[in-house]
């Protein structure tokens, strides 16, 4: 057969590795798939964070074979409560509860620890014949018929397509001259893992406190992962507190419904922002994941948006390649952009409105949002629509997210 040009993915985090595996599966062994990232040298991963994997993305992980490895350690989110209260309120009225199933027996999301997922992805990628290069992409030169990608070790790869999966501060995006549109929330998310006396029964909680959402996400073994938003200055103060003072702040927000609570690692603060790249594509280049967009974590959709990019891009590439079409050709990449960019902008606007609606002290807004949440809670079809939306199963869903092979 004719020699096939390789596809180079810059960035070996979730999106980059998942794309590599999906491409390998869809294209077979004839198209070399290369992932370049200096971070591939530091394994196993020590990332302390955990991530909610919604049903659609779990299906993608099943399709590429990693769910069987991480599934046993994943905590299903069996139900979810949403409350709206001030910090000093004695009780937190519940406005919204979800029994978290998209289909009978299929939870709408699972909590997975990042390090387990990344290690499983790396191992599977290696076993599937993905070429892993623990080095950076330094530059590239896009030509009409190919793109020459140069790595930090001096080697050059003549590829059909370069995928920028190199994160929020993407160097490739910058080099391609793609501007971003967005804003800073002046909020930070404090992330910490806690242990508690009683079992959470698979319940996720989201408390809309005036400073921003405070989410309790269940992990295996009487542990939970917290994502706790505060103003940037307050967050910096809180993470710098000595252990006992931090504990007091934690308890004030977490409550005692799960018994005694204690932090299992040092809290860390991540600045929250929102941006969408003005374009998801350039000549022989496609942006995925955080390189293309970063949204507020209020609805837990950041990673899932990135995995939707993966599923859509893998599908357009594989469909093109099976017709003999060069997957780096402009019209192929435009199909990816049409598919993903609108959805991303819509999700950005929605999460931003949620954050505006909930992160403030206005009594009027509180009344409005509580009526809204109460309505949603009493209308099953509306609720089920929201669950499907949150689970990534609305709109034109790529095959991998429907659990179908490419």
């Amino acid at each position: 057969m004719a020699a096939q040009r390789s596809i180079v993915i810059c960035g070996g985090a979730f999106a980059g590795l998942a794309l590599a595996l999906a491409l390998r599966q869809g294209l077979g062994p004839d198209v070399p798939v290369i992932v370049a990232d200096p971070a591939l040298a530091s394994r196993p991963s020590r990332d302390p964070r955990a991530t909610a994997i919604v049903a659609a993305c779990r299906r993608l992980f099943e399709a590429i074979g990693v769910w069987e490895v991480v599934g046993p350690d994943a905590q299903p989110i069996l139900d979810m409560v949403v409350t709206d209260s001030k910090l000093e309120d004695a009780t937190r009225p519940v406005f919204l509860t979800f029994a978290g199933n998209v289909e009978p027996g299929e939870p709408f999301a699972h909590m997975v620890e990042n390090r387990l997922l990344i290690d499983a992805l790396v191992q599977h990628a290696e076993a599937a014949g993905v070429t892993l290069r623990a080095t950076a992409v330094t530059t590239y030169d896009a030509q009409p018929e190919h793109i020459a990608v140069t790595l930090a070790d001096g080697s050059t790869i003549e590829a059909s397509l370069l995928v920028a999966a190199d994160g929020a501060r993407s160097k490739l995006r910058e080099r391609a001259g793609i501007a971003t549109h967005g804003w800073d929330y002046d909020q930070s998310g404090i992330v910490v893992t806690v242990g508690h006396e009683r079992d959470h029964q698979g319940r996720a909680e989201e408390h809309f406190l005036p400073a921003g959402p405070f989410a309790i996400l269940p992990l295996k073994g009487k542990r939970s992962s917290l994502v706790w938003s505060e103003s940037r200055r307050e967050a910096a103060r809180i993470v710098a507190l000595p252990d006992d003072e931090f504990h007091a702040e934690l308890e004030k927000r977490f409550g005692l419904h799960l018994g005694e609570v204690k932090a299992l690692d040092r809290p860390r603060a991540f600045p929250l922002g929102y941006f969408v790249a003005r374009s998801f594509i350039a000549d022989r280049m496609a942006l995925i994941g955080d390189a293309a967009h970063v949204i507020h974590p209020i609805a837990g959709q950041g990673l899932n948006m990135g995995l939707k990019d993966v599923a859509a891009l893998a599908e357009v590439i594989v469909d093109a390649a099976r017709l003999g079409i060069d997957p780096g050709q402009a019209d192929v990449l435009e199909r990816y952009q049409r598919w993903r960019r609108f959805d991303t902008v819509a999700m950005g606007v929605a999460t931003n409105s949620l954050n505006f609606l909930f992160s403030n002290e206005s009594t009027l807004l509180r009344g409005v949002r509580d009526i809204g949440l109460g309505l949603v809670d009493r209308l099953p079809p509306l609720k089920s629509m929201f669950i499907k939306q949150a689970a990534g199963l609305s709109g034109e869903v790529p095959r991998l997210l429907r659990g179908e092979a490419l």
């Binding site: 057969m1 004719a2 530059t139 009409p144 190919h146 003549e158 093109a320 099976r322 003999g324």
Partner: protein
Amino acid sequence: MTTQTETSHAASPSVDPDEVAKFSKLSAEWWDPHGKMAPLHKINPLRLAFIRDAVCRKFDRSARSLNCLSGLRMLDIGCGAGLLCEPFARLGAQVIGVDPSESNIAAAKLHAERSHLSIDYRCTTLEQMDARERFDIVLAMEVVEHVTDVGAFLDRCAAIMKPSGLMVVSTLNRTWKSFALAIVGAEYVLRWLPRGTHQWEKFVTPEELTRHLERNKLGITEQAGVVYSPFADRWSTSSDMDVNYMVVAESLE
């Protein structure tokens, strides 16, 4: 840093650099999905899928394999700059592209070389080809409406096709709808095509095509209309064969 990967044509004494620049420009025009050939690029995935699926069915191949056409000898008549030849070569076919235009062939050769594809491009016509050559697949896509004698042309196509082979023909139907859309619409209103690209009188109806094929003991085994939806700006296959259509012909025996 940049890596120079283009083959240097200027180094060869037999090649005029001005000529290379000219064909390079022509090749870029053909291959630009937003350029003059934009309508062809939009239809192309549809044509590729129709042909690939017919070939895979006929030769019992999997359409999911990137090698699904390996070992098959394919002739593309009126190949232009290779918009069909290159994809099928990538899928493993041994492709011969013929076109009477010297500049098209030069542009096609240049592009295939830069894409690392080996395709046998010849500046010739079907009539001038060696009558002993045989092909598994004969493509006559958007050609019959331009030839002077459709019957004689299809006789030649049938003759160079192996008895076990398959022919795919696409053209424009001769209906009032095709006059309105393909001539008035495409050439005068939307200006997708230069005026005079098509002569409506030369369009071929499916009945005429069937008659010519049957004379050669070939029958139509698959057919599809190709329609454009202006709101979605998308082409799709349809049972409506009033304007653009494609057929697969195989031996009746």
